[in-house]
Symmetry: C3
Subunit: 116 residues, 3 copies
C-alpha cells in the first residue's frame, strides 16, 4: 500500500510504502542564512516524519543539497544539534548550482523507517 | 530476489527488489528543448515501469536533475500533464553542472512500488 | 529493525533496514586522479557492503557525483572493471559544483540488498 501525505500536482509532502517514508524538505525563508534555513528544513522534516509515523531517530538515508559549500560547517552545526546520538543516517552532501527558489541554500531528501 | 532489466556494463535499465523498482531515465535527443526532453524522459519512464510491473500511479520518490533552472517551469508543465492526480511522489529538483551528455537538459531517478 | 554501522555525529557508514543497506562512500585521497579516487571509493564500498552482509553483486541503485564530467570515462573504466557482469544497478551520474572536501572528484551513494 502507498500512503501519500498532501499529494499535490508536483509532489507529495511524503510518501510511505513498505515500511519506508520518502520526504523532501526545503526552507521556509529565502533570505535567512544557512543556520536558520537548516533549522527550518529540519523542523519541517520533524513535522513530516511525525505525520508519517516516523521520526529523526529512524532516519535511513539523507541527501543534502547545498548551493554553497562554504555553508557546510554552519549546516553541520545545526544538523549535529538536531540529530540524536546514535541515530545518524547514511548521508551524501553535495553542492549543486541552484535549487528551485534562488534564495534557498539547502534542500534535504530523506528516507526513514516507519513504525510497523 | 533482485530482478535486473537489461543489465549492461554500467547500469541496468531498472532493478526491482522487495517490492520497489529503481530506474533512471535520460532524454533520447540532445538538441530538443526542455519540454521535449522531459516528454522523452517520462515516456521512457512509463515504458520501464511497465516492464517492471509498476506504473506512474505507483511512484514513491523522484529526483530531477536539471542543467538550467530556467527550465523549471517547462519541465513542470510536462510533469504535471503526465502525472495522474493524487499520485505525486516525494520529489527533489536540483540544478547540476552537467549530465553525462552535453545536450541533456534533464535526468530523472525514480523509485516506484511494484504490484505484489 | 534499523542497523547502523559506525554511527557518528553526522552520518553512519551504512544503515540497514528491511533488507536494504544504504551507504555513501568518498575517496581516501584528495590529490589522486579520478581512476585512483574511483578505486578508493569502490574499495570502501566493498568493505562497507561486506560488513552489512551485502556485496557488489547485490547493488540496486547508485548515484555517482562527479566534480568534472571530463572524469566520466576514467570513472567508467574503473566502474566497469569493478562491477560483476550481470550485476549492474540502476545508476544516475551527475556533475555537481563541489563535494565536501575540495580535492574529492567523486562521491557514490548506493543502496544494495542484504542477505536475508
Amino acid at each position: 500500500m502507498i500512503d501519500r501525505l498532501n499529494p499535490g500536482r508536483r509532489y507529495s509532502d511524503a510518501v510511505t510504502h513498505n515500511g519506508v517514508v520518502y520526504a523532501v524538505e526545503v526552507p521556509v525563508s529565502e533570505t535567512a542564512d544557512i543556520r536558520n534555513q537548516t533549522r527550518e528544513v529540519l523542523a519541517a522534516l520533524d513535522a513530516t516524519l511525525a505525520l508519517a509515523n516516523s521520526s529523526k531517530e529512524r532516519l535511513l538515508m539523507a541527501t543534502l543539497y547545498l548551493t554553497d559549500m562554504a555553508d557546510y560547517e554552519g549546516m553541520n552545526a545545526e544538523w549535529e544539534s538536531w540529530l540524536p546520538i546514535g541515530a545518524a543516517p547514511s548521508r551524501a552532501c553535495v553542492q549543486v548550482c541552484a535549487l528551485a527558489h534562488p534564495g534557498w541554500r539547502i534542500e534535504i531528501a530523506a528516507t526513514a523507517a516507519v513504525l510497523g
